[in-house]
């Protein structure tokens, strides 16, 4: 456990090695370094996890300070790492899923020219993400936070010859900047009021120094949440995530589904003490989460690009996690974060496998009938789809059910949240099965050229799919709720991290409604989901020929949803265009006329002065001597007369 500082440093070493020398390495060397460093991280994470398990539950919080980073008066930030149940879960998910995606990328990127560049960025991402989740203070967390943002930008724009890819990268970076601005302000406010950026100090002192529900703690948590909204793609800053699908598919799986976008959820869970002190913020978090979950799910309904459906699904699922945080069920949020990492990474990798087989085709309208051609991809994606839809016995069921139950029963929850959550679950099942039916079932809709290249992906890609499929099934059983004869082990494991927050919020563990209500709600959710799956089957499998008619049957609603509520256009109109126009105005008027005018004018003045004065240099030596004499007489005269 003393080796936790190595967990982020090993991928960092891989990044340096591949980044500096990658051009001269052969591909096997590059991927050995890249995958090997992440594998070492994963093994170290496992070691740390089991080391943590050996400790008593109360003492499961280990800090390791590598060195003092910014000692400046009362401000102090260390490069220090914190291992507790929350960060242990996060490093396992990040390094585990990351490792599988690294291995998958070996196959997926095999023929790409930027092979070493890709793995260099990927390793830098792993290092940043692990720093983010392991940091023991806000400032180091911010370093990781910005690091993953940078890698996200670099990897979205990985194919930089494509205009749309570089635009998407810029969009992601700029939109995230708004969130990061809030995050930085939140950190500053906390330092200003509490006088520390160290997690344990802040969370110890906050309940004493700040008023419960007071303005400062509310402002600080709202600012931190703004950071989470940007990073985790919640309304209104979600617009970058669908465009981020321009990046290579393993990147979408790793960064924009499994790990980076969940950083916001992790941060909120990490600051649970602060959030529990600010009920107003909790309400905001829950509402933003629920709204995002529902809103993104509706957009996902009728998208035709396979990756975009998954992108909106990710936004929607992240919304669920924030609902959990908003109703003070942080454990449920992290639980869903973990299961989501498994099945969403699997879905993206599966989609990547399909795209790979289809020679780059992403439009589901030109797929169809791939079930027999891509059996492994089909089976694993079906498992992930069942998991995300919340079918019993699959991991997504347990985590989603836990969130819905908490949304209903928690003192911060309400039945209304549950109803919207239920609707969202139904929509999720619908669009996911629409994806499955359009892609794998029905008539083939691709041309012969694509068909001639169509074959199942190589082992290096399918084996990670299978491992993730297994995890998507069994991943939920670690958090089996008491109502289903489980021990809710996952929540117990995380409990020490959230205990203090629960104390502040006066949450009694295990209290609430009887199991009967829980069963009833569970049953209702499952029934609704199954109905929605059959609806999808009816319109996309049984009556596949009329599915377009079915979609267009919604009229204006279909157009609105299909065009993503015209939000991008709206943002362009009210934010981007005025900014561009204003900047142009400032450039052409203020910069060119006033700023440049000032400096050019000063230079012009000096020039004019010089032009008039240079006539003095006549080249006539005798006139110089004469001026000399005049000067000498003047000086001597002055000296004499002034005595």
């Amino acid at each position: 456990m003393e080796l936790i500082w190595l967990i982020p440093l090993v991928p960092l070493a891989g990044f340096l090695l591949n980044g500096l020398l990658g051009k001269s390495f052969s591909k096997p060397v590059i991927n050995t370094i890249a995958c090997g460093s992440v594998a070492v991280s994963f093994l170290l994470s496992l070691n740390a996890f089991f080391g943590l398990l050996r400790l008593a539950p109360e003492s499961r919080s280990v800090e390791y300070i590598l060195f003092s980073w910014i000692p400046s008066g009362s401000f102090n930030a260390d490069v220090g790492f914190l291992l507790d149940p929350l960060s242990a879960v996060m490093i396992l998910v990040v390094s585990g899923v990351g490792l599988l995606i690294h291995i998958y990328s070996v196959g997926y990127m095999a023929h790409d020219e930027g092979y070493s560049r890709f793995f260099t960025y990927l390793n830098l991402f792993m290092a940043s993400m692990l720093i983010l989740v392991l940091a023991n203070n806000f400032v180091l967390m911010y370093v990781g936070w910005e690091g993953v943002g940078l890698c996200s930008y670099l990897l979205i724009g990985f194919w930089y010859e494509k205009r749309s890819a570089t635009d998407a990268g810029k969009k992601a970076f700029i939109v995230n900047r708004i969130g990061d601005f809030g995050f930085a302000l939140g950190i500053m406010l906390l330092f200003w009021t509490i006088g520390s950026v160290h997690f344990s100090t802040v969370f110890d002192l906050a309940p004493q120094q700040l008023a419960y529900g007071g303005g400062i703690v509310t402002a600080a948590t709202l600012l931190l949440f703004l950071g989470a909204v940007g990073k985790s793609a919640q309304v209104p800053l979600y617009v970058w995530l669908p465009d981020a699908m321009e990046g290579p598919t393993p990147v979408s799986a790793l960064i924009h589904a499994a790990t980076m976008v969940t950083a916001g959820v992790y941060m909120v869970a990490r600051c649970n003490v602060l959030y529990m002190m600010a009920p107003t913020t909790l309400l905001v978090v829950a509402i933003v989460g629920m709204f995002t979950a529902f809103y993104a799910a509706t957009i996902g309904l009728f998208q035709n690009d396979i990756k975009r459906v998954l992108a909106y699904s990710t936004i929607s699922q992240l919304g669920y996690m924030f609902v959990a945080c908003g109703v003070a069920a942080f454990g449920a949020g992290i639980f869903h974060l973990m299961t989501h990492a498994f099945f969403k990474a699997l879905l993206f990798l599966g989609a990547g496998s399909v795209i790979h087989a289809m020679s780059g085709e992403q439009d589901m309208r030109r797929m169809g009938g791939l079930k027999s051609k891509l059996p492994v991809t089909y089976t694993t994606m079906l498992i992930a789809t069942l998991a995300i839809s919340g079918i019993p016995l699959f991991s997504g069921f347990f985590s989603k059910d836990e969130i819905l139950w908490q949304a209903f029963s928690s003192p911060f929850g309400s039945p209304l949240l549950w109803v919207v959550g239920l609707l969202t679950a139904g929509l999720t099942a619908f669009y996911m099965f629409r994806l499955i039916y359009l892609t794998f079932f029905g008539q083939r809709r691709y041309d012969d050229h694509v068909a001639s290249h169509l074959r199942e992906s190589p082992k290096v890609m399918t084996v990670p799919l299978m491992i993730l499929a297994v995890l998507s099934v069994i991943g939920g059983y670690v958090g089996l709720p008491k109502a289903l004869l489980g021990g809710a082990w996952f929540e117990h494991f995380l409990h020490p991290v959230f205990a203090k927050g629960a104390e502040i919020g006066k949450l009694a563990e295990g209290a609430g409604e009887s199991h009967a209500t829980e069963y009833a709600l569970m049953l209702a959710a499952v029934a609704f989901v199954v109905v929605m799956i059959f609806t999808a089957k009816r319109y996309y499998l049984d009556r596949a020929k009329n599915s377009e008619q079915f979609e267009h049957g919604f009229g204006g609603l279909y157009k609105l949803v299909y065009n993503k509520y015209f939000i991008d256009e709206l943002y362009d109109k009210i934010i981007v265009n005025p900014l561009v126009k204003g900047s142009n105005l400032l450039w052409q008027k203020f910069d060119v006329l006033i700023i440049d005018g000032f400096f050019n004018g000063a230079a012009w003045l000096a020039g004019q002065w010089a032009i008039s004065m240079r006539k003095l240099q006549t080249g006539m030596v005798r006139s110089y001597a004469f001026v000399f004499l005049g000067g000498a007489i003047f000086v001597i005269g002055y000296l004499i007369l002034s005595r």
Binding site: R614, K615, Q617, T618, G619, M620, V621, R622, A625, F626
Partner: protein, 100 residues
């Protein structure tokens, strides 16, 4: 004994002649000689003060100036010869390339 003022007046007259020579003359050789006049006017004033004050400093200074003047004459004359070879003229007003 001749009073100090006499020496100074003579030195001042010689210096003024030299100075006017530098400004008025066009021939480089004449300017050159006028400069020598000015130097020797200064020498004369030095010696006069030195003798009047009973100090050796002025004498030393004069030796220094004479050495420098000798070196200056060597360099200056060679420049003048080089110039004359190029221009076939010793008129200072024709050497005016270094201007705006």
């Amino acid at each position: 004994m001749v009073p100090l003022e006499y020496y100074l007046v003579v030195a001042g007259i010689i210096f003024t002649i030299g100075m006017i020579g530098v400004i008025v003359a066009r021939n480089i050789i004449i300017i050159f000689m006028a400069i020598e006049l000015m130097l020797n006017a200064a020498n004369l004033a030095m010696i006069a003060f030195s003798r009047n004050l009973g100090s050796m400093g002025g004498h030393v200074m004069v030796f220094m100036i004479m050495t420098v003047a000798a070196a200056e004459a060597a360099v200056g004359l060679s420049i003048i010869i080089a110039l004359f070879r190029n221009r076939d003229s010793a008129n200072i007003d024709e050497v005016n390339l270094m201007k705006w």
